[in-house]
Symmetry: C2
Subunit: 207 residues, 2 copies
Amino acid sequence: MLKSEPAYSKTALAPSIPPFAVSVEGLTAFEKEIVAVFVDLVLLLGLPKSVGEIYGLLFASAEPLSFVEVEGKLGLSKGSVSQGLRTLRDLGAVREVGNEDLGQNDPEGAAEPGRARPESTPLVKERGARWVAAVELRKLIGSLLRERLTPYLERQDQRVVAAGAALDQLLTESKSKHLGLLAGRLEKLQTWQSRTRTVLPVIGKLL
Amino acid sequence: MLKSEPAYSKTALAPSIPPFAVSVEGLTAFEKEIVAVFVDLVLLLGLPKSVGEIYGLLFASAEPLSFVEVEGKLGLSKGSVSQGLRTLRDLGAVREVGNEDLGQNDPEGAAEPGRARPESTPLVKERGARWVAAVELRKLIGSLLRERLTPYLERQDQRVVAAGAALDQLLTESKSKHLGLLAGRLEKLQTWQSRTRTVLPVIGKLL
DNA sequence: TCTTCAGTTCAAAATGAATTGAAATCAACG
DNA sequence: CGTTGATTTCAATTCATTTTGAACTGAAGA
C-alpha cells in the first residue's frame, strides 16, 4: 500500500513566505521542531511529508488528537490527513484511542466502539476517534525500513541470479577474455549482497 | 524542444517500478540486469535513476567506455550523462582513465566504424576521456550514505536542541501537567539520536 | 426518518526533481 | 587561429508523486 521514491514537497496555503513557510500557524515552537524532525526522517525514508507532519504533531502532543484537530493544526486537507493517519496506523506508528475522557493520557488497550457513556455529564461529546503516537521508535523505524528493504532485497537477488545466468551464457559462447573480470565483479556483488542480508538484522537489534 | 515527437510514451498507469526501461536497447542481458541492480540501489539512496544506469553500465563493462558510448548505449541525453558522470566521479564511484591504451577496440564493434589504429601512430586520435567503475562497493555505498546522512544528522541535532529549549520555556511558564510526558518523549528522541551516531560508523565497518 | 458531521475516495491540480536539448565552452589538432 | 568534436551549462519540458477538494458513505442523534 505504500511505495517509495524520493520526493520533496512543500505545503500549500502559505504562498507569501517563500523559504520556510509552513501552514503551521497554530503550532508551538516545541511542536514545530518535533514536526520538522519527523518530516525529515520520513522524507529520508521516502514517505510523503504530510505523514511526517502528522506523526510529529502527535508525538509532540501530550493528549490524543482528533482527526479534525490534526487537520486544523497542520493546515492539511482532509484527504491528506485521512491517508496519512491510515499509513501511520498500518505502520504501527500511531494508535486510535477511544475518546471517552480526555483528561488522561497514555491510554492502553480497550478501545472498542461500545464504550460507556456517562449520561448528562458535560465535557466531551465528540464521537470521532482520537490518535496517539506509538512512541516505540525502535519499532517504528524498524517497520519503515523493513517495508522498503524487504522487497528491494528480493528483487536484487533475482537480478544477480539472472545476471549470473547471462554471464554463463556469454562464457559458453566464449568470446571470453575480459569475461573473467566481469565474473569477478559479479562475485563482489553477490558477496556484498549476502553480507547485507546478515548485517541488516544485526543493525535492527542495535538500534 | 518545440513540440510533438513524443515517439515513446511510458506506461503512465503502472504504479510500481517498471522493470523495463525504454532506453536500453543495445544492452546485453548481463548489462541489463546489472544496470537494474544499480538503478534500484541508487533510487533507494535517493539519487537519480540515470546515475544508477551509468554506474551499472560501467560496472558491467570490461573496458572503459567513452562519454559517447555511455550516451548511446543507455539512450540518455548528453546533459544527463554529463551530470551523472560528474556525480559519480565526485562520489568516487567512477574514474576517468586516459584513453592512450585501449588495448582493444570497442566491445560491440557494431556501431563504431573500425578502430583504425595503425601502428605507426601509437597515440589515439580520440581525445575523449574514458570511464571505469571504481569497484570497491564498500567505499561507494559508504560515501553515498555519508553524503546524505551527515547533513541530515546535523539538522536533526539542532532541532532536538531547539525542541529542548522550547520545552524548557514551556516548563518555566509552567502550565505544566503533561509536560513530563513530553520531556520523556524528547529524551527518547535524544537517546535514539545518539545511538544512531554511535551505531552508524559500526555499520560502515561491517559492510 | 432526516440531519449532521467524522472520515474516505478519487479525479484533478500543484509541485518539484529528473531529463532533455540546444547553445556555450573547451581542448586538441591541423 | 579555425575547425571539429567532446563536454558542460542551463532554461524549458516532462514525469512521477503528493496534495487538494468535492462528492460520497455511514453512523449518531434528534
